[in-house]
Subunit: 375 residues, 2 copies
């Protein structure tokens, strides 16, 4: 269990197969984010039919609503949401450090204010492991100290060092509460935009155990894209080859293609549904704003090359009308399309890697995608 | 085409089969309301799987957004929305008289203000027929003068008489624009709560033509339920036996059962989705407010006797969480359940009528339903 088979590589790009208690994940793969126990606006059956093999749940949000006790009583997050395939939960670290609910950081943990009821709450490595085990995802994430995107070296170093200390506590706590055949724990490499800090974080992480996967956190938080690419390139040779690599909170379609090229296996991001809710759709020839007047009487689908349920059935004209009329179905249909678009990038990249034509696929894809953006 | 076969009756209750260009409708039947080209929050595939055989489109709303020209260019309302089964459009009369956008009524028609852009608009029998033919539903409705629920006799009489004059103009206009093999026109009986006005309206209506169906409008607009029941009972013997009867804007579950008992074949109402959006679900043992704390860890479905996609898959605890967290999926799942609930009343009543056990079914149903209401 939790094994990863590396099937084929092309350059740094990898095609693999991850074995999890709730099923297999063919990598590279995009993981839709089920923030509050649902991928925003979507039915788990739709997410499944869109080809998602694994989804993410947010520990922070689920801890506040409905609370892990309710979810445990209702059989865990899988049974609660009726999603039967693999699932990963984040640790809540990203939210408590980024949602402006932060009150006090200490070595013990983080005191924060619930954005729901204003009450004081506390998260620590121990608490985060307890909650994640109650949720019962296949993969739990270590509780880390996340620093802002443009953090100065001193703060980035402090966060990275604390994340290492908290990783050790996360591991101990996880071993104490979780059944290791049903849930594994992945560490998160931090260190901001500083190559040496990133290297120290990775070394320190690998010294703490033989992890079943490695996550890279604290990227795509405002730094220029070339900086993210450079960090991935610097880390890649030292990441365990026989384990999956997960780039947290990334990303947009081009980020997936560029991340896969740099050896990343797993991605997650809310952009698919967030953009979808605003009528922004990704297509093979770039971004489409469905609200534009040019779509008023457009008979064709969002993307004629797309095989999603939205493109198979609905015209751009209808989708535009749904957005203009503020009919909920519109948000849902474009969100679903965007989810499928990212899932399909994983599928297409994987097929290309297996065929030894990833480099040309990547070049073609980026050319087509960046050419047509209609803003 | 547009034939109605009366298959069996029990008292005033009728089981029939209505032949429409886009398919058959087994009556009695509930028609979900697709206000803006979508049943609020639902996918046409879901509405179809919920057993709906015919849905309604709102001429007023579709005229304002996206406009009948856009819909015509995109192939008509069926192709636009991808709903391939029968469809009925109202005439817009109800909305212009009830949405507080009214500006001026004359014999010619109604000037009103668009609630979308504030612009002045005009609807008349001729305009309403033109729009409805552009939309292309199987059944178009006459443009009528709707008066408020508690209207005094004088106003009710004025509206009823004008509706008769407008019916004649609706018929002439419909004959001029529509292909009679693809769309039929139904008249609407008005007359407020006054038995003699209702009778005069029905007589005047039937004198104007051999209609393929008869609608009863201006009920369920605030009058006590016994008043609605009395009017239905008074009209029933004089309604054409060989034509379907449509009680407009009705209703709630008990209204369907009582309407069927009084010879009604078709119903429509937004309550299923409106209540669904607020977490109010109908079940065989009464209404359930899913937001209630008692549902927090409830493992069972909304209604253990229901065969809808929501009840087949999701727990009350999960649904409650979705509402508490304001996750859109919740509105959708409860709306879908409510639609199925009303569709199923039609199915169950029909089966009972065909078996000659409608009277006992009705009594059992009402007893069970009114006993358990949890508010």
């Amino acid at each position: 269990m939790f094994d990863y088979q590396l099937i084929r590589t092309e350059g740094a790009a990898r095609a693999g197969l991850l074995h999890l208690p709730h099923g297999l994940v063919e990598t590279p793969a995009f993981m839709p984010v089920g923030t509050l126990g649902a991928v925003r606006g979507l039915h788990p059956g739709e997410v499944d039919r869109a080809g998602a093999q694994i989804i993410l749940g947010n520990t922070y949000h689920l801890h506040l609503r409905p609370g892990e006790d309710v979810i445990r009583q209702l059989g865990g997050l899988h049974r609660f949401t009726t999603w039967s395939k693999p699932m990963l939960t984040d640790s809540g670290g990203f939210q408590v450090f980024s949602l402006e609910t932060l009150r006090k950081i200490s070595e013990q943990g983080v005191e924060f204010t619930s954005h729901v009821d204003g009450g004081a709450r506390f998260l620590s490595p121990e608490k985060a492991m307890e909650i994640q085990w109650a949720l019962g995802a296949d993969i739990a994430m270590a509780f880390d100290h996340v620093v802002p995107g443009g953090a100065a070296r001193e703060l980035a170093e402090e966060g990275m060092e604390r994340s290492l200390r908290w990783l050790e506590r996360s591991r101990t706590a996880h071993q104490a509460v979780a059944d290791p055949s049903r849930q594994t724990l992945w560490p998160i490499v931090q260190g901001g935009t500083f190559a040496d800090l990133r290297r120290r974080s990775l070394t320190g992480t690998l010294n703490l155990g033989d992890w079943t996967g490695t996550a890279i956190g604290g990227l795509s938080v405002g730094e220029p894209k070339p900086v993210m690419h450079r960090i991935l390139e610097e880390l890649e040779p030292d990441l365990p080859r026989g384990r999956p690599r997960y780039l947290m909170g990334v990303g947009f379609p081009e980020d997936l293609v560029e991340g896969i090229a740099r050896g990343v296996d797993l991605f997650d991001c809310v952009a698919a549904t967030r953009n979808g809710r605003h009528g922004s759709a990704w297509t093979m020839t770039g971004r489409v704003n469905i609200r534009k007047a040019t779509n008023r009487t457009a008979e064709g689908p969002l993307d004629p090359t797309c095989d999603c349920e939205t493109c198979a059935r609905f015209s751009r004209g209808y989708l535009r009308h749904l957005f203009a009329a503020e009919e909920m179905l519109g948000l849902r249909l474009v969100s679903l399309h965007n989810i499928r678009f990212l899932v399909r990038i994983g599928e297409q990249a994987r097929a290309a890697i297996l065929d030894g034509r990833f480099a040309s696929w990547r070049q073609d894809w980026l050319e087509r995608y960046t050419r047509g953006d209609d803003g």
